[in-house]
Symmetry: C2
Subunit: 347 residues, 2 copies
């Protein structure tokens, strides 16, 4: 089959790779209908994460079940399914607690020896606990299908950030990061009942989308000026709930600066220097909590799926560029150059 492969820094392309086959009785093989490129894939593209030439890539996909191991009971061939970005056994202590990203038998699409989401098909371990069924009618609705694809990562990650930030009805929320995850954080915060949502960003297309998703205020300033601006909007106190969806030192420094005493920072930006922006003296003095991490999105799908299906939330506009699998390298370039917000890969 054809699949995206990491060759070297700034060189990800499509190659012929072995077809996935059932290896264990709990496996499924899923024929991919839609995949996409994540901000974290960019770290690999830029050569900033440890990845070997030939390794697969992509961890977000939905598709149709093509083959099932003998132990799989929850799915039938032909079912439309979405996969979270981590597979999980569903039975270990962590899975029982909903922390599927710490599953004792879990793993990531694209890790060595596994298929990536950006390819024609994927072998899915622990299919019964990993995959989630989607209504078959969705397959004929491109807009809905695109919205459902966000359940595999960005929507659940934005939701995780909002949960970590402690968003509840009436909250004042500030969102650092105008990427797809930050925007999904806006959407999640709105769904959780936030009254005021301050989006930090200066890219017009993105801040417009933030407003569509529920942002009540947009702060284009950066750094100290952004902190000042958010404080001016919040009677000098800052936001009780802060979402940090970048992972850099500057983003975290801003998040700390705009957090209200007694509030929480929900962080989902993979740390790339953000520890240096985490001023512990400030967190201590103001009793600001830091909660977040890699999002156990599998846990959130049952809650978020109905909201996407009934149109309560529509995350599909985070995709502003669509490419075919063979053009995936153009998709990476577009995201790397920030000409695209998030790239859909259709098959």
């Amino acid at each position: 089959m054809r699949a995206a492969v990491f060759r070297a820094s700034h060189d990800i392309g499509v190659e012929e790779v072995p077809n996935p086959v059932i290896r264990r009785p709990g496996d499924a093989v899923v024929r991919v209908l839609m995949a996409c490129i994540c901000g974290t894939d960019l770290w690999a593209y830029r050569g900033m994460t440890d990845r070997r030439p030939g390794q697969r890539i992509g961890h977000e996909f939905l598709g149709v079940v093509e083959e099932l191991g003998t132990d799989v009971t929850g799915f039938a061939v032909g079912d439309l399914v979405v996969a979270p970005f981590v597979w999980s056994d569903g039975v270990c202590g962590y899975c029982a607690e909903g922390l599927t990203t710490s599953c004792e038998h879990g793993g990531f699409w694209g890790q060595e020896g596994s298929d990536g989401g950006q390819g024609e098909a994927v072998r899915v371990p622990y299919a019964d606990s990993t995959l989630v069924a989607l209504p078959s009618e969705a397959a004929s609705d491109q807009r809905l299908l695109t919205a459902l694809l966000t359940l595999s990562d960005v929507l659940g990650t934005g939701h995780h950030a909002a949960i970590g930030a402690g968003v509840r009805p009436g909250s004042t929320v500030a969102v650092v990061g105008d990427g797809a995850v930050g925007l999904c954080g806006v959407l999640a915060a709105k769904r959780l009942g936030a009254e005021r949502i301050i989006a930090l960003g200066r890219h017009p297309a993105r801040t417009e989308l933030a407003r569509t998703f529920g942002a009540t205020d947009v702060v284009p300033e950066r750094g100290e000026a952004a902190v000042k601006a958010v404080r001016e909007l919040t009677r000098g106190q800052g936001a009780s709930a802060v979402i940090e969806a970048v992972g850099t030192e500057r983003a975290m420094r801003t998040a700390v600066g705009i957090a209200r005493a007694g509030g929480s920072i929900g962080y989902v930006g993979v740390p790339h220097g953000s520890a240096a922006g985490l001023d512990l003296d400030v967190l201590f003095d103001r009793n600001i909590a830091l909660r977040g991490g890699i999002a156990p999105v599998r846990r959130y799908i049952p809650e978020l799926l109905p909201a996407v299906l009934d149109g309560t939330i529509d995350p599909s506009p985070v995709f502003d560029l669509s490419v075919g699998l063979e053009e995936v390298s153009a998709g990476y370039r577009a995201m790397d150059e920030r000409t695209a917000l998030k790239v859909l890969v259709t098959l």
Copy 2:
């Protein structure tokens, strides 16, 4: 009156200072019966915090109301009262939320222009919201009075750490720090229903006290060896609730290392390098939350006071040395040299 005064690094002694007087209608003057020396006073003693010669010191005290401003309605002259380590107005947004340490009109005993707890009397701003009445019978019970004194800081701070660590019935808790706060963290965790409490420490008198307070296991190892030992006690996973009650890099590094995925670190050790021990990559991968900070102990007194009065918890053994006010410098020396765990100052 006589009061402890910071003169220079390693030189805190008792001097004659002005008697406190009512300055505002909400003030009270409290005649001190008991005060004590806190681990954070040691940072001042060692010259590691910004303090000017002549500045008062001590932030934990209980005593008898001697004089009242005209606006004070909740107390009468002669009432036995305990003071939390921060005064607070009781009406601002933060106070309404229980975050008294962020009170818009709050302050610390011993800050410039205010009395310290280690002295014969203290002017108490916002007396109605700051002070808490104690039963007058307690005045004749030295053991009980000593236990009640811990409400002013260490007991509430240990409780705040346990809350930050997410302790609940059945929790497995690990406590980094065998000082008075760490030990009160053990006591608080036990009261909150922790099933297993692992105390890290190697000082026999302290670890014995930890066991008295409810520790089920003691780990004398340090650093990496401590992490290994705690993991061995917890099926390799670590403790869901970790209390960090030191504030140093090593303590925080250990706290991160022994925290179970999905758990929380409740930190109350004033950061003195601890940020460097906060490995954000690990927190992120394991979804470990960091919650804590300066404890709003005023908020906790109504909950903890009954437990101390009815003997559910007895924190009084954290005091292992008692000195008169005139001997306070000997008390500092003893704590600095770790020959005393916590020093009571009686008047």
